[in-house]
């Protein structure tokens, strides 16, 4: 079949059922276009067909005959939109970027032809890019990039040495050159497919793989505890062959009674998810910091009981209830299960070579995966090599050696060939972790002076077979030390397990607590920001309150009851987040070919840590952009941190500065009085190597290092204030976020644009949590119904408000480098700020998240 691709006449040989995306990627090696949802929803596969942007994952390859196709590679990095995406940092992980760039380029060319250099407005851009999803939430940069490219500001090829704030890997990501795990396909590579249980609870009696190369993935007790649990994996030389082999696998189940909702699970006599102590001890956890022991009663675990003067708190609340105290607020809140949904699914390419194991994994933790793999297969750690050059998002779901890697490694050994295992979107949305749902009962009492008198929070976590929901416990970190009782329970069910998800436990706590504080401000007749400022104990946030209170959006907001169909409201929420770091982090610098190469075994999942490392080294040594190269995403070099717990930057940046100082000293010694980092001097220093470490904080850490000495809790809490304006359509029930101000106190900002981008993404993900995202399982079978990107709904560009970010950079002088992480604190309070804005607009408090139109309208009736 003849077609033209990127201007070249080409003959391809697709099967009748192949999609154009497969032909382009597999046959022609054009891996810029990604297959991320497989349903034409996310736009990552977009290419131009005769100039028209088209979802290539749904386009039959046969439709390419005689047509002309342009992929992101065909734009050759020379399109103004590409330069604009880099300059405005309109990307994070980069997995969606080729699709956005192709669509935006087509829009740009059409717009310029019709409008010259008049910039399009946000609605024009949102219309054009409505078929693209960016899970990292880089929409603010995308709006800016498209608007300024259309205005003609990137017509010239800016080839000056200045990087203008672009991230160091921007060029690779906007051109489609960046290689992700899903793009890796070594010669002779087999494909693997996982066979999963369609039962929620069953004992597997027998697996008949019908002769296929396969691996058993069941736990020792041969029991499946949720629909979607891996049973086995098969491999074959082609993906079609692997799918056929998977379809031929016969699994004999003996069905066992299942509990599929927390209500049933908590009733006496309900079937048990874990029958005894031994089974319970194998339960997975959705908690990041280890799971404290707690009592079990049936399927209910807990409480984990914390607080200050708990007895006093309970007595005050009971007394207030008995006397009908007006300043007692109590309510029950709920939050839905949220799924991480990185656009790059979990994926692994495994190969054995002379006793060495080589893994390409889409992971947030190359170092951890390497260590776990060495333990799992009993290998010398030196013989395990894990790579993740680019990672298409993670958000907490890719922090361990998990099914995709275990299966690929085993199958590779059996097949005697490299094996690739890439989850499809259904698997990704079913069984790669989630933020557990919650039900929270909260009671809050203020005294006659308007001070917080007592607080009680009970939270029941709904993490499926996972335990470790830790929500109420975060109430220890905020609003001083007034009496409080904070209890966390888990209710386990036969549903897929939760995992840590960006700020684990934080957003559901904020959803309840920040609404309660808001309610108290209303009852006290006090400004919600002023009340928080009074109650708050976080000194770093004082400056944020002052700024927030002075915002025109806040100061000039409408007061009193709104009328009319469309009503606007403004809400505020605050949050704290612990400061974690990896005290074992190191950074190595080596002079190679006149260039300083920066290495550490961390990975860039879109956070911009490559850029942070490059900046720190350049500033310390006064180097030009082309004199520094950052190589991350490899388990081989000196130890680096995992990308979770908001700890990457604060761990590696001081280590990089330390290494650079050491290198500078050595260079100065050989510079003979001249500039230390001159090109000549660098050239002469070929092979020079220094290693920097992460110095301890002044006054040390709050905890001794734990988790293999890779984690420590530092002093101080990162803080945030979010002010959100929404418009509610009271007729059709839609909530439209209009503006958001995000004030963040996390100390020094190392790379301004990338940090802002993170903060934007936190807002966008919080909006998704508040308004759209909800994992849904079938109440009869426990199977996941929301297993595609139409039914699991991520916020699109048109749902993103205009976002302004303010950084308060003081208060962290005890930390080397002066800055801590902000990935999590950027999102914790966002959903609560939406709730308070909705309450302000319509006079009704949304207790249940997400605030869907049906729920909102029900509340207004």
């Amino acid at each position: 079949m003849d077609t033209t691709v990127n201007g070249e006449h080409t003959t391809v040989h697709p099967a009748p059922e192949d999609a154009a995306a497969e032909t382009l990627r597999e046959e022609l090696g054009l891996t810029g276009a990604k297959i991320a949802c497989g349903q034409g929803v996310c736009g990552a596969c977009t290419v131009l067909v005769d100039g028209a942007p088209t979802a290539s994952c749904l386009l039959p390859s046969t439709a390419l005959e005689g047509r002309s196709v342009t992929t992101v590679e065909g734009l050759e990095g020379r399109h103004p939109v590409q330069r604009a995406f880099a300059a405005h940092d309109a990307l994070q992980c980069g997995y969606c970027t080729p699709g956005f760039v192709v669509e935006a380029a087509a829009f740009h060319d059409r717009w310029r032809a019709e409008h010259g250099t008049g910039a399009p407005d946000r609605a024009d851009i949102a219309d054009a890019l409505s078929g693209h999803l960016c899970r990292c939430g880089a929409y603010e940069g995308i709006y800016a990039a498209v608007a300024s490219a259309c205005a003609g500001r990137f017509d010239e090829d800016a080839s000056s040495g200045a990087d203008g704030g672009a991230r160091t890997d921007a060029e690779d990501k906007i051109t489609g050159r960046a290689r992700y795990t899903t793009d890796v396909h070594p010669e002779g590579c087999w494909e693997a497919v996982v066979v999963r249980s369609d039962r929620a609870h069953a004992r597997v009696e027998r697996i008949d793989a019908a002769g296929a190369v396969h691996v058993d993935l069941l736990p020792e007790d041969r029991t499946v505890r949720y629909a979607g649990q891996p049973v086995a994996a098969v491999a074959a030389p082609t993906r079609a062959g692997a799918r056929q082999a998977a379809a031929r696998v016969r699994v004999d189940y003996r069905d066992l009674p299942a509990v599929l909702d927390t209500g049933t699970a908590a009733t006496p006599g309900a079937p048990l998810v874990y029958a005894d102590k031994e089974e319970r001890s194998a339960a997975p956890s959705s908690n990041e910091g280890g799971t404290a022991p707690a009592p079990w009663r049936g399927n209910r675990r807990g409480p984990l009981n914390l607080g200050f003067r708990r007895g006093t708190a309970v007595k005050r609340l009971n007394d207030a209830h008995a006397r009908g105290d007006r300043l007692l607020f109590s309510a029950e809140f709920s939050t839905a299960v949220q799924v991480h949904t990185p656009l790059e699914p979990h994926a692994c390419v495994a190969r054995w070579e002379g006793g060495d194991l080589y893994l390409n994994v889409s992971t947030q933790y190359v170092r951890g995966v390497a260590r776990e793999a060495a333990e799992h297969w009993d290998l010398d750690p030196e013989r395990v090599h894990v790579r993740a050059e680019h990672v298409g998002g993670g958000f907490g779901a890719k922090s361990a050696l998990s099914t995709e890697s275990i299966a690929a490694v085993e199958l590779s050994r059996l097949a005697g060939a490299p094996v690739r295992l890439v989850f499809d979107r259904s698997e990704e949305l079913t069984d790669t972790g989630n933020r557990p749902g919650t039900r929270t009962r909260l009671a809050m009492l203020a005294d006659e002076k308007g001070d917080l008198s007592a607080l009680s929070i009970d939270t029941w976590g709904d993490g499926g077979v996972s335990i470790g929901s830790a929500v109420a416990v975060h109430g220890m970190l905020i609003y001083g030390r007034a009496p409080r009782r904070l209890r966390d329970f888990d209710v386990v069910t036969h549903r897929p397990p939760g995992l840590p998800f960006r700020g684990p436990g934080g957003p559901p706590l904020a959803w309840a607590l920040e609404q309660a504080v808001d309610e108290m401000a209303l009852r006290l007749g006090e400004d919600p920001i002023a009340l928080r400022q009074r109650w708050d104990g976080n000194p770093k946030r004082a400056a944020l309150y002052e700024r927030a209170a002075a915002l025109p959006m806040w100061r000039d907001r409408e007061r009193g009851a709104r009328t009319g169909r469309f009503r606007r409201g403004v809400g505020v929420a605050v949050s704290n987040w612990p400061y974690l770091l990896d005290p074992s982090a190191q950074v190595e610098l080596v002079v190679e070919d006149g260039c300083v190469v920066v290495r550490t075994s961390t990975q860039d999942i879109g956070t911009g840590v490559r850029t942070v490392l490059a900046r720190v080294v350049r500033e310390e040594l006064d180097l030009d952009a082309d004199q520094v190269r950052v190589e991350t995403g490899d388990s081989g070099p000196v130890p680096g941190p995992g990308s979770f717990g908001s700890r990457t930057t604060t761990s590696v940046a001081p280590a990089a500065a330390d290494a650079a100082r050491r290198l500078g000293e050595r260079l100065r010694a050989s510079a003979d009085g001249g500039p230390a980092a001159s090109r000549e001097n660098l050239k002469a220093a070929e092979g020079l190597r220094t290693t920097g470490t992460r110095a301890r904080d002044r006054r040390g850490f709050l905890s001794p290092p734990f988790n293999n000495a890779e984690m420590a809790l530092g002093r101080g809490l990162a803080g945030a204030v979010h002010v959100m304006e929404v418009e509610v359509d009271t007729r059709l029930g839609r909530v439209r976020p209009l503006h958001c101000w995000a004030g963040i106190a996390a100390g020094r900002i190392y790379a301004d644009r990338q940090a802002r981008n993170q903060a934007h993404g936190g807002v966008v993900q919080g909006i998704g949590y508040a308004l759209y995202e909800q994992r849904v399982t079938d109440p009869v079978t426990g199977r996941t119904l929301s297993d595609n990107l139409e039914d699991y709904r991520l916020p699109g560009i048109g749902d993103a408000p205009e976002i302004e970010v303010y950084f308060h950079e003081e208060g962290w002088e005890h930390v080397p480098g002066g800055g801590v992480g902000l990935g999590e604190v950027s999102t914790v309070g966002v959903a609560a700020s939406v709730a308070n804005a909705v309450r302000d607009a319509v006079g009704r408090r949304p207790l249940d998240l997400p605030v869907r139109p049906d729920r909102l309208l029900e509340g207004l009736r």
Partner: protein, 321 residues
Amino acid sequence: MSIVSTDEFARLTEELRSGAEARAGGTDTMARLRAGLDAGPFADLGGLEELRGVAWGPNGGARIGALTTVADVAADPVLGAAYPALTATARALATPQIRNAATLGGNLLQRNRCWYFRNPEFSCHQDGGDSCPARAGDHRGGVAFDTSPCAAPHASSLAVALLAYDARAETADGRSDPVQRPLRELYDAADGTRDHVLEPGEVLGVIELPAPEPGETAAYVRATARSRAEWPLVEAVARVVREDGGSGRVARVAVAAGAVARTPLRLGEVESALEGAPADPSEAAKAVEGLPGQCSPLPGTRYKTTLLRDTVRDALERALA
């Protein structure tokens, strides 16, 4: 603009009769193939060039080829002037890169979006089974008019608009002359086993619309949670013809709704309540009052009864403005 009975067309219809599935833009068939619901083989209609584009009849009515892309329908200024709610609907559905591939015919004949039907682990009336798992399960996207064993609403937005414009569908089977029927006869509200009534071998070729009336106005409203790119919770088209060539009272009104029933639905009682009324947006609220009472919702779709009322009201107010 019509199906030409070539040998090529006859061969396609034979393939269809022997079990192949018709594939036009592929946006629905490929999605089902990828989800493991469908294994092909497919009969590609893409080569029927004569079924692309718009032709205008001597009476001022349009004939739109079934292989015209949704994007081309959306962007056609002449169509937009004559049938504004049709092009508005085309602009509101799916996403630009789907609209560039998806066709008018494919949109009208697509399968429903029920998450049980689309999940290969469930069997239902639509794939040869004898039950509807949505009824005992989570059917928040289901029908508000329960008329068949299947609880999934029809997914076509364009059908809603075309129904309001009294469109007719022209089909051919490669053996006899093309036949025309009213668009609504493509669907059967009582049939829970399929989403349209065309038999294997029957190909939808052309959609014919009557000429617009002088001064008529129309509006499309799509109720969604997100701002764009979302299947509607409820959608509605209202079309108003005024007396005296556009300046007088309401002469005729057509109201159609989608995402609420097994077929796109005309709402006759709303229409008759408005005929003869002053052409003023304030008339809309009263006309839609009785709609919730006409619904037969499932436990999980009660919200759709009032949302239908309010979506239709919105469309009417816009068309009457």
